[in-house]
């Protein structure tokens, strides 16, 4: 039996806030030239590349947060073990891989330690999501079995 916990609500609120912040950040990326020059120490020619990297990874992050919102909605409804969540986790894994690939491209052009760390984090996140997806699939099987046991 699913028990609602304050932790679930707090996580849901955190994801909602992050989702809004991520959208605002994505919108502000094209207008962040001066900040980019200061933070990355890049020249005018590299600004467009960095903006493209930030924009692409930002959109992927928004997509991940949207999928997490979908998963948490079903969790708070008390029925998280559904095939839609397996699909959501697979989409999150793909988005993580996309981000890792984007930063791999960045690493080739502008290699930094933080870029390598980001790549590692998102590759591991991708693998975790794929594992979680399989766990969810197995849970759905057990749930169906339990539901059809009279």
């Amino acid at each position: 039996m699913y028990q609602k916990s304050i932790v679930h609500y707090m996580t849901k609120i955190s994801i909602d806030i992050l989702f809004i912040v991520a959208i605002i950040c994505c919108i502000l990326v094209p207008f962040s030239s001066s900040w980019l020059f200061r933070y990355f120490g890049i020249v005018e020619e590299g600004a467009l590349f960095v903006k493209a990297i930030l924009m692409a990874s930002g959109i992927s992050c928004v997509y991940i947060l949207w999928q997490l919102k979908v998963i948490f909605k079903t969790l708070l409804q008390g029925n998280p073990f559904i095939h839609a969540n397996v699909s959501s986790l697979r989409k999150i894994a793909v988005a993580c891989l996309v981000i890792a690939f984007i930063y791999f491209v960045k690493m080739i052009v502008m290699p930094t330690i933080s870029t390598i760390i980001i790549i590692i984090i998102f590759v591991v996140a991708c693998l975790l999501c794929l594992t979680l997806k399989d766990l969810f699939k197995q849970s759905i099987y057990y749930k169906d079995e339990n539901d059809l046991t009279v």
């Binding site: 169906d144 079995e145 059809l148 046991t149 009279v150």
Partner: protein
């Protein structure tokens, strides 16, 4: 599946309805309907015990094994 639930036959013999039986054995009518329509994947021994008590019958009266044509 080769196992067939003959619950409806016993219910007809005992002249008892689905709702009444569900109430007697303390399970939901929806679950009893799943069992009656051969949709269930498994049956708990406790449920079988309650059904046999309520219908005054043996498990063999409700559950039947029918060999399928392809031998599976």
């Amino acid at each position: 599946m080769a196992i067939i639930i003959q619950l409806d036959v016993m219910m007809a013999k005992r002249k008892i309805g689905l709702m009444e039986l569900a109430e007697k054995i303390n399970i939901t009518p929806a679950n009893l309907s799943i069992l009656k329509n051969n949709k269930a994947k498994a049956i708990r021994l406790s449920t079988l015990d309650e059904i046999c008590r309520a219908l005054d019958c043996q498990p063999g009266d409700i559950i039947e094994y029918v060999e399928e044509e392809n031998g599976q």
